[in-house]
């Protein structure tokens, strides 16, 4: 069943889950500190163990989040990869939207003008 695409929003469907399986499996392995160390010691060898596809290997090499997503990476697993380099989800967001991290944070904060209205339940009638 295919639903209307949501602009700018890759939905992690079965098609992505199949395409990204090797990449996500490698990222899942990075839960273990010993595996993170093994990745850093020999990135090529570590990726080879998991049989990454060429686009997945290239996206890992480039540390490019958009390419990793396109190669089937799920962001919860990619976060484990990004964590090796001390990157958080604001860093990932900035990279994917082509702005600086400060600009990305400012964009988030702009929504704070609604905080009091939502706290009081005044923004939406049900």
């Amino acid at each position: 069943m295919s639903a209307k695409p949501i602009p700018g929003t890759p939905v992690f469907t079965g098609a992505y889950a199949m395409r990204g399986y090797a990449l996500n499996k490698m990222c899942y392995s990075l839960n273990a500190a010993a595996n993170r160390a093994a990745f850093l010691a020999d990135e090529d060898g570590y990726c080879a163990q998991y049989g990454l596809t060429p686009p997945q290997r290239a996206a890992i090499a480039a540390r490019n989040v958009a390419q990793l997503i396109e190669a089937g990476g799920n962001v919860y697993y990619l976060a484990k990869f990004a964590g090796i380099f001390g990157l958080n989800v604001q860093d990932l967001g900035a990279q994917q939207t082509g702005v600086s991290v400060d600009e990305f944070k400012a964009k988030l904060k702009a929504h704070a003008i609604h905080n009091d209205a939502v706290k009081a339940g005044r923004l939406a009638n049900v």
Binding site: T9, K25, V75, A79, N115, R122
Partner: protein
């Protein structure tokens, strides 16, 4: 017969765990978030729960994509956290309530919810951060039944199915042979999106709609497909499904005791809502 004393629904952003670890609760960035919790904890401590049923989604700690259950019920004597890869500290183990877990499993399957049962289950930040928020002094006095919902790999369960699943769990708790006070802890959300060109998407209007509907009209949320929820709440805003399960468990008419809402915490519209039976 056990008693459901109410529900606490809260965001479970990993950065909260790091902020607690570093003692940043009074920091300018964090204070508006943490300030929501003292009244929630006062309510919780007055209500004296024995067991917390925690509805959350796993982020690649216990479950990988090799086997991805739509609904999974923990039935372990103890639950532990573990390294999640990006630096959140682990927390002490939490005791289980396996007799209640099996009562929930029996009722759910009788009601045609074909759950996955887990006699061993690691619990990630989505389960443990809310425990840290509600029991900052430690959780020796509480036992949990963790219930994991697939909000990650589509197809996700529908909001309608989630509400009905929660109602089934609620029936199991009320019919349980032991006399326990049970609190529902629902975790995740509200609106946020981590990936794609729309990363950073937030939707306070939809969040407010959800918070208002969850009090006494949760069925309003069942009109949205999981895909529509992603469109309205963002990819990870689909975690509202956990809150809908939790509202189903609470059942009946409810009264809102505490609400907090704060943008931004990390990439997320952070929210807290405590409901009790009206």
């Amino acid at each position: 017969m056990s008693n459901i004393i109410g529900s606490v629904a809260t965001s479970h952003i990993p950065a909260i765990g790091n902020a607690i670890h570093k003692g940043l609760q009074k920091d300018e960035y964090w204070q508006p978030f943490f300030d929501g919790f003292p009244p929630a904890r006062a309510w919780l401590h007055a209500a004296k729960p024995d067991v917390a049923v925690v509805v959350y989604n796993d982020h690649g700690l216990n479950f990988f994509l090799d086997k991805m259950p739509t609904f999974a019920v923990g039935a372990a004597p103890v639950y532990t956290s573990e390294d999640e890869g990006w630096g959140i500290p682990t927390v002490p183990p939490v005791r289980g309530a396996p007799e209640l877990s099996w009562a929930i499993i029996e009722q759910a399957v009788a009601d045609e919810f074909d759950v996955t049962t887990c006699q061993e289950m690691l619990v990630d930040h989505a389960c443990t951060v809310p425990l840290q928020l509600m029991w900052p002094e430690g959780w020796e006095g509480i036992r949990i039944v963790p219930i994991a919902i697939n909000t990650v790999q589509h197809p996700l369960p529908s909001a309608k199915r989630c509400l009905a699943f929660g109602q089934s769990i609620g029936r199991a708790i009320r019919a349980f042979a032991q006399t326990l006070n049970v609190v529902v802890i629902s975790t995740g959300g509200l609106s946020h999106q981590l990936e794609g060109e729309r990363a950073g998407f937030l939707n306070p209007e939809f969040d407010d709609l959800c918070l208002n509907a969850l009090i006494n009209k949760p069925e309003l949320l069942t009109r949205y497909s999981a895909h529509e929820i992603v469109e309205l709440a963002g990819s990870q805003g689909a975690e509202i499904l956990n809150w809908i399960v939790g509202r189903g468990i609470l059942g009946g008419a409810a009264r809102e005791v505490v609400r907090n809402y704060h943008i931004p915490i990390s990439n997320t519209a952070a929210a807290l809502q405590v409901l009790e039976p009206a």
